[in-house]
């Protein structure tokens, strides 16, 4: 195959791990397991509710009863397609379910229905930021649908294991990245971005604590010169033997595990030892990974097409309709917010971190003042939610209240300090901001002649300072402060500034 001109290698500091002799590049691929947001399971009508009594959300199908047959939940198909479209992926109009065969008590059928050969979603792309704040694209290899397994509980009794089948059969999307993630930071960014997109799409709630988002992390390290060759050739074999760290459900642990694993592998490499291709588990209490099973011990899953199910055939028009109805996603929303509302990229990113906050922002900022809105939202509202450990949907303020408050600030009817007080009042006991301005006596004095009188008074009372101000213009601020004090903090600082300047310079 003819290659294009040599690709430029652009390795950033955060992507390097130092060995004793050489520099290595992290090579990371992620398999993210995202539970599909759906009321019922992938192949049965049982509920997917989290935290129910053990074995209460189990249908005969989930329990692998004799003669029971799976019927695909078309909503889960739609959710997978939506997710695929959200990462600009190819949607496969024909896909198929396969059986992955293995024995385990929390797998009642004796097989997991998955999609090995013909996944529903093909190649896609996610863009993230590197630690150096450079934008980077990570390729997605595929998304396939599969059944989640149940839970085996081994630590409740010394001789007996318990099985909870509530999770059995819940739809999972396995989102497989290309090995194009090059630092623990990027791995976390990638998962965060993926989670954000899925939350916008409402296809996965992304709750890692409840296990609705988990990841298997494939790690290898590649000596920097070899990595250069990989960049030139695209030959994945150059990337070295990888180890898979299974079932991670914390971003912090993912970062730690990758760091540990990379150093472990480098040590082996530099000692001239082979890295065994194996599955490993991360132990957070020891901050290390340990082998779970080697390649030789790997299960032979005997995949074959599930004969109980027909191919999934999607109509082009149906997919197009879903694409047309997609909500605006973070990658589009951020530049639009920066542009439309004149806010900083940093603020934009904070605001879009949840769809609900982005929507709230847009509602309060439209036809008011974006900057004031962003300021109020991030510094007051988020600050207060954070302090009281509340989630955004518990926010007691309304769009109307916030818009009014923004207007008051914009028209200089309240000072920023006054606005803060009004916000606190709304937060604690509600109320109408306009009424509160007067009720709390926060209306800013904008009467120029009144302010001028006060300025004159201050000048009269402080002749010594007036002399000094000629040689030290910084003293202007002192005069402004004095006037403000005289007004009881109610005079508009802009007007004071203007008059003081006129009088003293």
């Amino acid at each position: 195959m003819r290659r294009e001109a040599k690709k430029k290698m652009n390795i950033e500091k955060s992507q390097l791990v130092k060995g004793a002799k050489n520099d290595f590049v992290f090579v990371i691929g992620l398999e993210v397991h995202a539970q599909v947001r759906s009321n019922s399971k992938l192949f049965s009508g049982a509920s997917t509710e989290f935290g129910a009594e053990p074995n209460s959300n189990v249908s005969f199908i989930d329990a692998g009863m004799p003669g029971m047959l799976p019927v695909v939940n078309s909503f889960c198909i739609e959710q997978a397609v939506k997710t695929g479209l959200g990462i600009n992926a190819e949607i496969n109009l024909i896909s198929r379910f396969d059986r992955k065969n293995y024995f385990y008590p929390d797998l009642p059928q004796g097989y997991q229905i998955s999609q090995l050969y013909e996944p529903i979603v093909g190649k896609g792309i996610i863009s993230i930021q590197t630690e150096e704040k450079l934008s980077k694209k990570v390729g997605i290899e595929r998304i396939h649908l599969e059944q989640d397994a149940g839970k085996s509980i081994h630590d409740m009794d010394p001789t007996t294991s318990f099985v909870d089948l509530n999770r059995t059969g819940i739809a999972l999307m396995e989102i497989v990245s290309k090995p194009e993630i090059n630092s623990p930071f990027e791995a976390v960014e990638y998962i965060k971005k993926l989670r954000l997109i899925m939350r916008y799409l409402e296809t996965c709630d992304g709750n890692m604590q409840e296990g609705s988002l988990r990841a298997d992390v494939n790690v290898s390290v590649c000596e920097i010169n070899t990595y250069q060759k990989f960049i030139e050739t695209g030959d994945y074999d150059l990337l070295g033997t990888r180890c898979e760290i299974k079932n991670m459900n914390s971003l912090k642990f993912i970062q730690q595990a990758i760091n540990f694993e990379a150093r472990r592998q480098i040590k082996l490499k530099e000692a001239g030892k082979e890295i065994a291709q194996e599955t490993r588990l991360y132990d957070p209490s020891k901050n290390q990974t340990r082998p779970l099973r080697s390649k030789e011990d790997a299960h032979d899953y005997r995949y074959f097409p599930c004969p109980d199910l027909l191919n999934i055939e999607l109509k082009r028009g149906w997919v197009d309709k879903i694409r047309d109805d997609l909500p605006e996603l973070p990658d589009q929303k951020i530049p639009r917010f920066i542009n439309d509302f004149n806010i900083t990229p940093y603020d934009a990113e904070v605001i879009i971190a949840e769809k609900a906050t982005a929507d709230f922002f847009e509602a309060i900022a439209t036809n008011t003042d974006g900057k004031i809105a962003a300021n109020l939202l991030i510094n007051e509202l988020f600050g207060r939610l954070n302090k009281d450990s509340l989630s955004f949907n518990e926010n007691p303020t309304t769009v109307e209240q916030m818009r009014e408050l923004i207007n008051l600030i914009q028209k200089d009817e309240v000072s920023s300090k006054g606005a803060k007080e009004i916000f606190d009042h709304i937060w604690n006991s509600g109320g109408n901001p306009t009424d509160l301005v007067d009720k709390l006596g926060l209306r800013q004095v904008q009467d120029t002649s009144f302010i001028e009188q006060m300025v004159d008074d201050v000048i009269k009372e402080n002749p010594a300072q007036v002399d000094k101000v000629k040689s030290n213009p910084k003293l202007i601020g002192w005069f402004v402060g004095q006037v403000m004090k005289k007004s009881g903090g109610k005079a508009d600082p802009k007007i004071i500034n203007k008059i003081v300047n006129e009088k003293l310079t």
Binding site: P105, V163, R302, P307, D308
Partner: protein, 497 residues
């Protein structure tokens, strides 16, 4: 009317007498109960539900003649043990499902009860429907009501639906459900002088039928005659949202199709389906059938299905592959048999001991074959290649059905054979029984076996008609025409009571 004659009637004739109120459903049910009670030597019924049957019968007697009467009102049926029946022990004739009592009813049997049929009990079969002689059942083999002239040897009723075929032949029920994965309805029908129909794949819901090989399994009726087959098929068929492979195709009134003349019908004879011994009664009976078709104005067309020789090996790769996975759920964790464990045994021992104890030899063999052909490194050579051959076999039929409407073949290479005489050394000897029936399963086509007479040994012989997809009406009508002319009488000497 004497009770013996009553139980010889079958579905249509019983229905007609019930409708005329000449007999009552209770009377009819009692007659069958008596026959079943006298038939323990046949070992056909493994679980009886007489209390339920009599309750259903008394209900039926109240309904008959009213507006709420349905098509099978008061008709006593037997159910193969592969169908899950609510609150009735269902084991697929296997120890691994020891005392399993389903909390649900299979779609097909539910449809029969919705039509107000009466359930007499569960019928013996090969374990998990794996076998062609009923000898793999944990309950022991069913004995064929038929015996060779002058012999006392116990013969097989065929398999896997051997309990169903024997029960119908011995007048233990008006008709019975069967399932057919590689010939399990048609071969037993052929061995017992009954009519066995395997419908098009997707015609009958598989929901609640214990799975053997999902892409092959189809339920169908075993009956005394073609009309009964048509009546029962209608009740069993139809789209089921619980089975993704069930077809959204209307169910015609098959009985109404019967009796149309078959002038101009193109009947195919495939050279690949010839009997080894040309100078046999079996061959002469086949010739007779051809002659009858000709006399009725049908056109006989020689055709070829070139990949037929690969059908049997293809089937014996694919069906075990699916079975090995379908039977993985029998692990002793949730229901059925669980082995007694030693103190230090882990989950692996639970699996190994439970499955070693619970499955019989033939089932284990097929699980092993299936596991092997799906294993990495063998998948392409066996499973994938077999799938390709399956397509070729389907294509063969597609081509032939451009030239003919129906294909006529023998159902089996031989008539019923003595129990214990086949497959004890070499399982393939037993598998050869399926050689003429398996292709229809590979292609998903409907096929019917009906009796054409007796062979040199005095044993029933069947012929098979294979139709194109969803051509059950034509298939049944063709069989009906043939049956009418042959006038075969199913009356094995009643040696068991």
């Amino acid at each position: 009317m004497s009770e013996v004659k009553l139980t010889q009637l079958g579905i249509k004739d019983s229905r007609d007498l019930l409708n005329k109120k000449e007999i009552s459903a209770t009377e009819l049910t009692n007659a069958y109960i008596q026959n079943i009670e006298e038939s323990s030597k046949l070992n056909a019924f493994i679980e009886t539900t007489f209390d339920k049957a009599l309750m259903q019968a008394s209900k039926a007697d109240k309904i008959i003649g009213t507006d709420s009467q349905k098509s099978l009102c008061g008709i006593p049926l037997g159910i193969k043990d592969l169908f899950c029946c609510k609150n009735v022990k269902t084991q697929a004739a296997s120890d691994i499902l020891e005392n399993f009592i389903p909390p649900y009813e299979s779609t097909v049997t539910q449809k029969l009860w919705n039509e107000q049929a009466i359930m007499l009990g569960k019928l013996n079969m090969d374990e998990f429907a794996m076998g062609s002689s009923n000898e793999t059942s944990t309950y022991g083999p069913v004995i064929n009501p038929w015996k060779s002239t002058g012999s006392h040897d116990s013969l097989t009723p065929g398999g896997s639906s051997g309990g169903s075929s024997a029960a119908v032949a011995a007048n233990l029920c008006t008709g019975a459900t069967g399932t057919d994965t590689g010939g399990s309805i048609r071969q037993p029908a052929s061995f017992t002088g009954t009519v066995g129909l395997k419908p098009t794949y997707g015609r009958c819901s598989r929901w609640g039928i214990i799975a053997f090989a999902s892409s092959f399994d189809q339920a169908g009726p075993i009956t005394k005659n073609v009309t009964d087959s048509a009546i029962m098929l209608k009740a069993m068929s139809g789209f089921d949202p619980l089975d993704s492979t069930s077809a959204k195709i209307d169910v015609p009134d098959y009985e109404q199709e019967l009796g149309k003349d078959i002038k101009g019908l193109r009947v195919g004879l495939a050279k690949e389906y010839s009997l080894q011994n040309g100078d046999s009664e079996a061959n002469r009976k086949l010739e007779e059938a051809i002659k009858i078709f000709k006399n009725m104005g049908a056109e006989i067309v020689e055709v070829s299905l070139p990949h037929t020789e690969f059908a049997l090996p293809t089937y014996y790769v694919l069906a075990p592959a699916e079975a090995s996975s379908n039977l993985a759920r029998y692990d002793g964790v949730r229901y059925g048999h669980r082995a007694k464990l030693d103190t230090n045994d882990s989950i692996l021992e639970l699996y190994e001991k439970t499955r070693s104890e619970g499955f019989g030899t033939e089932v284990k063999r097929r699980i092993l074959i299936g596991t092997y052909v799906l294993s990495s490194g063998y998948y392409d050579a066996y499973y994938k290649r077999a799938q390709k051959v399956r397509s070729l076999i389907k294509n063969d039929f597609d081509e032939v059905f451009k030239k003919v409407d129906i294909i006529l073949t023998p159902t089996t290479p031989t008539s019923a054979f003595p129990l214990g005489s086949k497959g004890t050394q070499d399982p393939v000897e037993m598998y050869m029984n399926d050689i003429f029936t398996v292709p229809a399963n590979l292609a998903g086509l409907p096929a019917i076996s009906l009796p054409v007479g007796l062979d040199e040994l005095g044993l029933p012989l069947g012929v098979q008609l294979i139709g194109n997809n969803w051509q059950e009406p034509l298939l049944l009508n063709t069989a009906f025409n043939l049956e009418n002319t042959l006038a075969f009488e199913n009356n094995p000497k009643k040696w068991w009571a």
